[in-house]
Symmetry: C2
Subunit: 353 residues, 2 copies
């Protein structure tokens, strides 16, 4: 298989962990006789510094021509005081919108070996394996008007959806549930928001097309509780952009594996952008200690979701698990075992593939 | 002191726990020579059934004339299929707005005796003692337009604030922080939302008036993580209505004491409505097993915040703690010790006052 991949390392540890993912992909290409070509572009703070724009047009154009995109991380204190249009996050929001990546998939699964570092009691978190499907290009983060009025005395943001935007993310979530344990939890605030009422209606209607999936509606406040008290009750969760932002970050700390969590942002045709859940971690950037696993697992998600290379994705995921089980870990994890840096962790994984 | 209190028992266990709170207040009145008079009114589902309106005008009028209001809980499956304007929650949203209760105070503190039932590891949750100050009458839950358009093909909700609405809740939160440990965490999504940018600006400006309070800004997604990984880092959290709804419910399960948590919803002049954080629990309603402690502690908050009866509030709170420490608990708590019903728990508390 021949694929062209655009790499957007971004800021902070994004650059380091991207090198790791690329090295792992090169190994997979050799072992399985594929040809992966790469092309790097700037985004976020790096792009502001070099092009005065968090999302330069060349970056967008290159992504549009690629078969898939890998992104490291964006942001850092250096750009925190910038005006809105010159903030690193604008690059991320912009590329999602430009590429039509409406479905954000965030799988959260504990690694046996790391459960002890979960803030939850082991008996609470044990067996948790959930997937949050977050709508990514609509809702409160993209609706207009989003502006000040009356000389800054009044401010407004808008939660806006078309019915078809809701339908396509709900379809995606049902399909994910079919491939997993067949249970879908739709999260909304239908007792207050009009948008949530429409959301719930769409889910109720769609479920007739997926008779093999059981459906449940949970209010967002209750969902925020249940994720903590009983995370293993969930299979697939589908929700609005901002609700999904909050709940997926909440869920990401449950299993004690934040440095291990990948994500996919997909278009209807399977094209996608893949990025770790963790941020740019400016405090440890450049020190060679960043955990590359989330980025490497994001590359595995790319193989699975955009290229249908299931075996190859499985190999990466199994290898990562076996390296962890052998006791190797980066500095972010407080394991017994052997502490290694970014490069050594990467070599260990490559060596085992 | 002579005070007139409106009781809004509402639905489900609301009625039972309200009886407990009233009995405790009567005991306090006797012991401390106050005169508390009570008047009950319908709200929520009960009001829909009897008056065809979740917030009958007589209820609003009575609350407006009272010195304070106690509310039990609203809602239940019976009314779940009702149209928006005939849902129990409308009663709650309506009374908050009618009475101008813009500041929702939700203290979350673990009881030593109950920490073992927290989903978090004891070393993570230990020492947590935080107060969430949620803006309650603006933001995403009240902004207009909130409607369907184009024949239901499009839907919109609105997050709307005036600068003065933000200022008054931020002031309230600073004042709370002054009376506690002097640290304020303002939660927003300033990297995306215009309303959050104004929110952050207001906090930055206001902090000059409160030099004794240290201030920190945290993004809502990060806050959802930190509440779990390190809840004891927080003192006072202030945030928008919907962010506050999600984060306060998330926080309410951290200490294993959901059945014990009170809340206050306040107006600028100190007038307030007090209610337990738990819901109407229709599954156990009428069985005499509901935990009355959250409602009783809500009454204590009323004494403290609306009537400045600090000693009396302390007495109730200390008594509750001592009864728990003596091993008594209702069925919602999986303690060793002696399991008691609603009435017996109430009598124990009254007996100890
Ligand atoms: C950086 C920010 C705009 C972004 C978001 O909220 O979408 C991030 O938090 C994420 O979850 O990917
Ligand atoms: C019932 C509902 C409208 C309400 C809210 O979200 O405000 C409740 O969840 C609460 O937190 O008091």
């Amino acid at each position: 298989m021949k694929k062209h991949i655009v790499l957007l390392p971004g800021d902070g540890i994004g650059k380091e962990v991207m090198e790791s993912a690329k090295a792992v992909l090169n190994t997979i290409a050799e072992e399985f006789n594929h040809s992966f070509s790469f092309e790097s572009h700037d985004i976020g703070g790096a792009a502001i510094d070099r092009h005065g724009n968090p999302l330069p047009p060349e970056t967008t154009a290159a992504c549009k021509k690629a078969d898939a995109v890998l992104l490291g991380a964006v942001g850092g204190p250096k750009w925190d005081a910038n005006p809105s249009h010159l903030r690193p996050e604008r690059g991320l929001l912009g590329i999602r919108k430009e590429l039509g990546l409406f479905a954000n998939l965030r799988p959260i699964k504990g690694f046996e070996k790391l459960l002890h570092s979960s803030p939850l009691k082991e008996e609470v978190v044990k067996g948790s394996d959930l997937l949050i499907v977050r709508e990514l290009t609509g809702g409160l983060y993209f609706g207009t008007p989003s502006e000040r009025r009356d000389n800054g005395q009044v401010v407004v943001d808008t939660l806006f959806y078309t019915r078809s935007e809701i339908e396509r993310i709900v379809d995606k979530a049902f399909q994910c549930a079919q491939q997993r344990r067949g249970h879908l939890t739709s999260v909304d605030k239908a007792n207050v928001l009009e948008s949530s009422k429409l959301w719930r209606e769409v889910v109720e209607k769609k479920k007739q097309q997926y008779p093999d999936v059981t459906v449940e509606h949970v209010l967002v406040d209750a969902a925020a509780m249940k994720l903590i008290t009983n995370p293993s009750q969930f299979d697939v969760i589908v929700t609005e952009n901002m609700f999904g932002d909050i709940l997926s970050d909440e869920a990401s700390v449950l299993t004690g594996s934040l440095g291990m969590l990948p994500s996919a942002s997909l278009r209807e045709d399977g094209f996608g952008l893949y990025e770790p859940v963790h941020g740019s971690a400016p405090d440890i950037a450049g020190k060679g200690v960043a955990n590359p696993v989330a980025m490497i697992l994001s590359a595995a998600m790319m193989l699975r979701h955009s290229f249908q290379l299931t075996v190859e994705a499985d190999v990466i995921e199994d290898t990562v698990e076996s390296i962890l089980n052998a006791g190797f870990h980066t500095a972010d994890l407080k394991n017994a075992g052997k502490k290694v840096g970014t490069e050594e962790m990467t070599s260990l994984i490559i060596g085992s593939i």
